[in-house]
Symmetry: C2
Subunit: 233 residues, 2 copies
Amino acid sequence: MAVEREDAAATAAGEDQEQRAQREREREEEEEVLIPPLNFSMVDEGVFRSGYPHPSNFPFLHTLHLRSIVYLCPEPYSELYMEFLKKHGIKLFHHGIEGTKEPFVDIPVNVIKEALKVVLDKRNHPVLIHCKKGKHRTGCLMGCLRKVQNFSLTSIFDEYQRFAGTKARVSDQQFIELFDVSSFKRNGRSWTCTCTCQCKKHLVRVHSTTYTFSSEETNGTCSKDSNNCLTIG
Amino acid sequence: MAVEREDAAATAAGEDQEQRAQREREREEEEEVLIPPLNFSMVDEGVFRSGYPHPSNFPFLHTLHLRSIVYLCPEPYSELYMEFLKKHGIKLFHHGIEGTKEPFVDIPVNVIKEALKVVLDKRNHPVLIHCKKGKHRTGCLMGCLRKVQNFSLTSIFDEYQRFAGTKARVSDQQFIELFDVSSFKRNGRSWTCTCTCQCKKHLVRVHSTTYTFSSEETNGTCSKDSNNCLTIG
């Protein structure tokens, strides 16, 4: 009996210790100062933009629960950064664009198109788009995204300038103006209607419209992110 | 029989006409240029900020499906704007703050606290916060929100300056630095963990943590917005 009591006391003490440690961890997590990357902002549901993340930004990035990153510089990532992506299962889409200065800028249309496809595909969300400073390359891609969303050019340029500041480039804005989004329209619109089904197995009610996904888009598995699905019929 | 055929033909023609009209409406909606208000941005899941909306921004605002607006100027809304809110069932939280210039600025702490409570309450989301230019009053409130979210002061000021531009005020940044968020911490953290249950009747799994709502927070009805709920047990 004495041994049993001792065991019980030891277990209780162990639980207490564990609970205390858990509370301590939660308190620390609550108190942790979060440092978003340079020029960080939420663009839309599941889409973020920023400059190049520093290791001090990793705890913040972790809170975004990213599924993928679109990286727009040609240089490879550091080992530390690659480790962070691997640890958190974040997929990297590397669409490198040289960061040349005006008037030698020549943003490659095809690279922006490929990157835009990735951004518009909700299966990649939450996604972070970044280059070095989050001004020019990221600004161009985000401007093209806003065109798909039918934003007026004035408001697109206003947003571009908010992030580029005194480094705003006329050539970037010219690129955005001339970028042809006709092939992206349908995709973009359905996304901007906050169609949040990830599993693509259900009909999804998006505001007043009902969309169904074609069988070629169906990936066959229902992920945890399909909580917004309304299965119909 | 001839009459029946005529009726059927007329019905078919009517349907065709209706379908065409519907397609035309959809096409027009797809092509409509959207104009966000001055200084518009998404702050976080369900939270937006901007300057004072102009009637030309109404079609864009409609796409946000706002549940409420936090308005920070003391002047009453125009009739046109009130009509827009009424038509779309948007609740107005009016927390007026005088827009005096530095060094006579005296942002009232209590008004910001009341406004922040509204912003942190997910039942009011999606919510748009705006003043006149979306720079100072909105910037102060958003800075306080970022403090609740544990953002570093450097990144809070960086964001403040992005919207205030050359009109950035040291006094606003001083206000944000001194603002005490200790009473908001718990609420803010659970929100930033994208805890999206609106009905408050369920346990909600938020990433790795499970939260339960106290009975005084339970409103007893399960709204349509509870699709993210994971009912446990």
